[in-house]
């Protein structure tokens, strides 16, 4: 029996995740595929936003969606019906996707012929933010009924994402929600963020969101 020794590892666990994420980005670039990580709380309208987006863009580009949920296939079905290729990942209770799980979804989806892939992360404003998935851009969806005080409660996500979609603006008059107050709070956390208010129901603002995507996909290579 040998003698126990101390081996210093001093390794940040997130570095390993970052490495896998960087490899994923390289892989996607080699296939000219643009990955966008979509985060929000449950019920914010991620799927409705994606469905509207896919319907509007499916004739211009090939779109894929990686759906991550604890259980069920309802979201994958919805985006497939809209015209995207979808895979459903079940995380079995895990509250976020890391780079390794994302990579598994990408491999399952077979992205070679896809221009754009959305990763619909688990509905959760906390855990997904801490994990680089390998996406080129990160976005968050905040719906009007959730309130304009969310950036005060969950500063990390608003501080990190490149785009904030404010969804369900068609119901704004029924809620104590002020767009200017929200913008002020978000910009304080993240001065480079792009805020796009939309309603998937009336179509208001969707154009600006589609333009942003088109710019990203066009500039990907």
């Amino acid at each position: 029996m040998g003698e126990f020794k101390v081996f210093t590892i001093k390794k940040n666990i997130n570095e390993d995740n970052k490495k896998v994420a960087d490899e994923t980005r390289e892989y996607l670039k080699s296939h000219n595929t643009y990955l966008i990580n979509v985060m929000s709380s449950p019920g914010s309208g991620k799927t409705s936003t994606l469905v509207a987006t896919i319907e509007a863009l499916k004739n211009e580009m090939n779109i894929g969606v990686i759906e991550a949920d604890v259980d069920s296939d309802v979201d994958a079905e919805a985006v497939e019906n809209a015209g995207a290729r979808a895979v459903q990942m079940h995380t079995g209770g895990l509250c976020h996707l890391d780079a390794t799980m994302t990579r598994a979804g990408i491999d399952q989806l077979e992205v070679e012929d896809l221009d754009l892939v959305f990763l619909e992360n688990i509905g959760n404003l906390i855990c997904p933010v801490g994990y680089d998935t390998g996406a080129m851009k990160n976005i968050a969806v905040l719906s009007v009924p959730e309130g304009d005080d969310k950036p005060l409660k969950y500063p990390k996500i608003f501080g990190k994402v490149d785009v904030l979609i404010v969804s369900k603006i068609d119901v704004m008059e029924h809620f104590d929600f002020e767009m200017e107050r929200l913008k002020e709070r978000v910009l304080k956390l993240n001065k480079d963020i792009k805020i796009i208010p939309i309603s998937s129901k009336t179509g208001e603002g969707v154009e600006a969101w589609l333009n942003w995507i088109k710019e990203q996909v066009k500039g990907r290579s």
Binding site: M1, G2, E3, F4, K5, V6, F7, T8, I9, K10, K11, N12, I13, N14, D16, N17, G93, L94, C95, H96, D98, I126, C127, G130
Partner: protein, 113 residues
């Protein structure tokens, strides 16, 4: 549960290190977890046995060193815990600080042969 995925990641890294260095037995894994990291030490400890069950690390012990969420005041340079002081410097009441520790999640070392 959030922590279970993190523990699997720890085991993966340790396993890589063990194979690379041709070690045969790991007695203990030592983690450093910052107070502001995404992992709660108590939950890590609770799910650790389930994560190592039926693996080579079933007998391996786990030790967690908690690192404080310390900030350094940009006005008077006082170092203070930003959680217990609610971000306010106890010396000068300033709220402008630079975070110096608390976000870590490191595998510090392993005891093995």
């Amino acid at each position: 549960m959030h922590e279970l995925g993190i523990v699997f990641e720890v085991i993966k890294v340790v396993d890589g290190f063990v194979k690379e260095n041709k070690l045969t037995k790991v007695d203990k894994i030592v983690l450093e977890i910052g107070e502001l990291s995404q992992a709660i030490p108590r939950f890590i400890e609770e799910c650790y046995p389930a994560a190592v069950d039926e693996t080579d690390y079933k007998e391996t012990k786990l030790e967690i060193i908690s690192l404080p969420a310390n900030g350094e005041c940009n006005i008077c340079q006082e170092v203070y815990n930003i959680i217990s002081n609610r971000k306010v410097c106890p010396k000068c009441d300033g709220q402008d600080f630079k975070l110096i520790s608390g976000q870590e999640f490191n595998i510090k070392e392993i005891v093995a042969y």
